[in-house]
């Protein structure tokens, strides 16, 4: 199943990755080539096969549903890009420019 250039821009937006035109062309070819190798999976009969959610081979015990406080040896302020009064500071959620760029 070949990936189109529009697909690349769409999934890049879903993944919050900014992609320029030149990179989009290269990624379209690369992803199409990789996905072509996955086509072999469609030939396997899995009608009666349950999907593997994981490979826990037993021995993974349940524990009490209690919170374990993280053992933090540094404060959040020591590594957060921007903090104030114990909160992470982020840019405005939406601006006039954002709205116009997304065509909304």
């Amino acid at each position: 199943m070949a990936v189109t250039r529009d697909d690349v821009f769409h999934i890049a937006e879903l993944a919050r990755l900014g992609i320029d035109d030149a990179r989009a062309d290269a990624l379209t070819a690369e992803l199409s080539s990789i996905l072509a190798h996955m086509e072999v999976l469609s030939q396997v009969d899995t009608a009666q096969v349950p999907p593997a959610a994981g490979v826990g081979a037993g021995g993974t015990p349940l524990r009490p549903d209690a919170t374990i406080a993280p053992l933090m040896e540094q404060t959040l302020e020591s590594f957060a890009p921007s903090m104030r009064d114990g909160f992470f500071i982020v840019p405005r959620l939406a601006t006039h420019e954002d709205s116009s760029e997304s065509g909304a």
Binding site: V44, P51, P61, P70
Partner: protein, 518 residues
Amino acid sequence: MNVADYTRLGAAAISGKVRSGEVAPSDVVRAAFERAGEIGAGPDALNIFLHADEEACVTETKEVQQHLDTAADVGILAGVPVAIKDNIASLGLPTTCASRILGGYVSPFEATAVTRLRANGAIIIAKTNMDEFAMGSSTENSAFGPTRNPHDVRCVPGGSSGGSAAAVAAGITPIALGSETGGSVRQPAAFCGVVGVKPTYGRVSRYGLVAFASSLDQIGVLGRTVDDAAIGLEVIAGFDKADSTSSDADVPIYRVSALGKPAPEARHPDTEAMRIGRSPVPLPPPPDSTTLKGLVIGKPKEYFPESLDPSIRAHCERALDRFRSMGAVIRDVSLPRSPLAIPVYYVLAPAEASSNLARFDGVRYGLRVDPGKGLKSMYEATRSQGFGPEVTRRILLGTYVLSAGYYDAYYKKAQAVRTLIADDFRAVFASGVHAIFTPTTPTPAFPIGAISDPYEMYLNDIFTVTANLAGVPAISVPIGRVRRLPVGGQIIAAHFDEYTMFRVAYALEASLGAEAHQ
């Protein structure tokens, strides 16, 4: 301790000398850094270390020395220098996953595996280079430049744990931690002529391992010898409340060397004792490396294709002959769905990665690039500038296979085929086979820059990725050289049977002796 002596010793010998007072821990660490300088572990040569702090290590050795002076239990890795892959959180040194998006990030907590190493007297001397976020098979995808193979600096060391494998191969540390998602410990171990073990999924806590594909990720150990790998795994294995996928299965003694029992609580009696559990159940004695009588070793035909490098095939056949001569029965077996493993892996791992790596968004930690146009543009600018090409490619691939209209055709299908691959292993082990032997890689190390096609690079994992998909333990052991470069043989065992895997590995290593490196 002079450097020449140091580079010849395994972890057990170093620990023995430290515990007997023959050598001070500070002398061992000095020798490790001297070796790192001599061989060129820095960015202008082999580029093995991303972060190292000799002064901090000297301070740490004083604590081990104090315990020695007061006759306290210093642990079975007393004074042993260990290098840690840069995606495993360690206090004091940065944890960047070799990515610009985590440039300079110092974790506020430590991985359980690292805490257990320290609790047993190990000294963490450096964080090692790797493919960015463990995505790669050559360490060329590091944002900080490739690591070079100590056996031939023109070649890659393998990946993604290439820095850890090179640190051990170069004689800088006898043990290093790496991580596996599809072969990232065993493949570089094979390329660098060292031992690399991936435990059963759930055997080692993933707490503090930066998540790539959570249903596949496991911390593994690289060692100069099988004994080094066995000691390292024994120390870090076991239940951990902080990882919900961690198993409470008993951890047997894997190593042959006599060192006493690991004592994870020895130096952390308060908080750590709450998080680290050990079973009091009596366990089997260490493996016997002199005989394989009673064992059936499977030789799966899918791992010995006609296209296999004839020199690698010859080394594998020699190893199988040694197994026979030690009393094992070699049986031809089939793991028929193994050829589907690479397509399955490269659907599932990127899918999980696309979710796990969503957390790198410039909000809580790491890089933030803010063009001043609001939140969405901050996310996009941060992630586009922070992630390298391979990580970007895999996030997009993962997002695609999970997106509406493609989920059933790719993700759900790959999960079902993963069940079939795991069933193949279950069937072979249920038929009376105790271990499976294969080549670790289809080729020896390749020159830096030689592989540019992403899928061709993915094929490096063709013999290793099935063990990750099935969750079974596997180890790579040196079995000889091809065109002057090391190659490895892989021993795979059933879930939680690392004991048998090590038994076979010890026997192979003892039988081959110096031939393993010729």
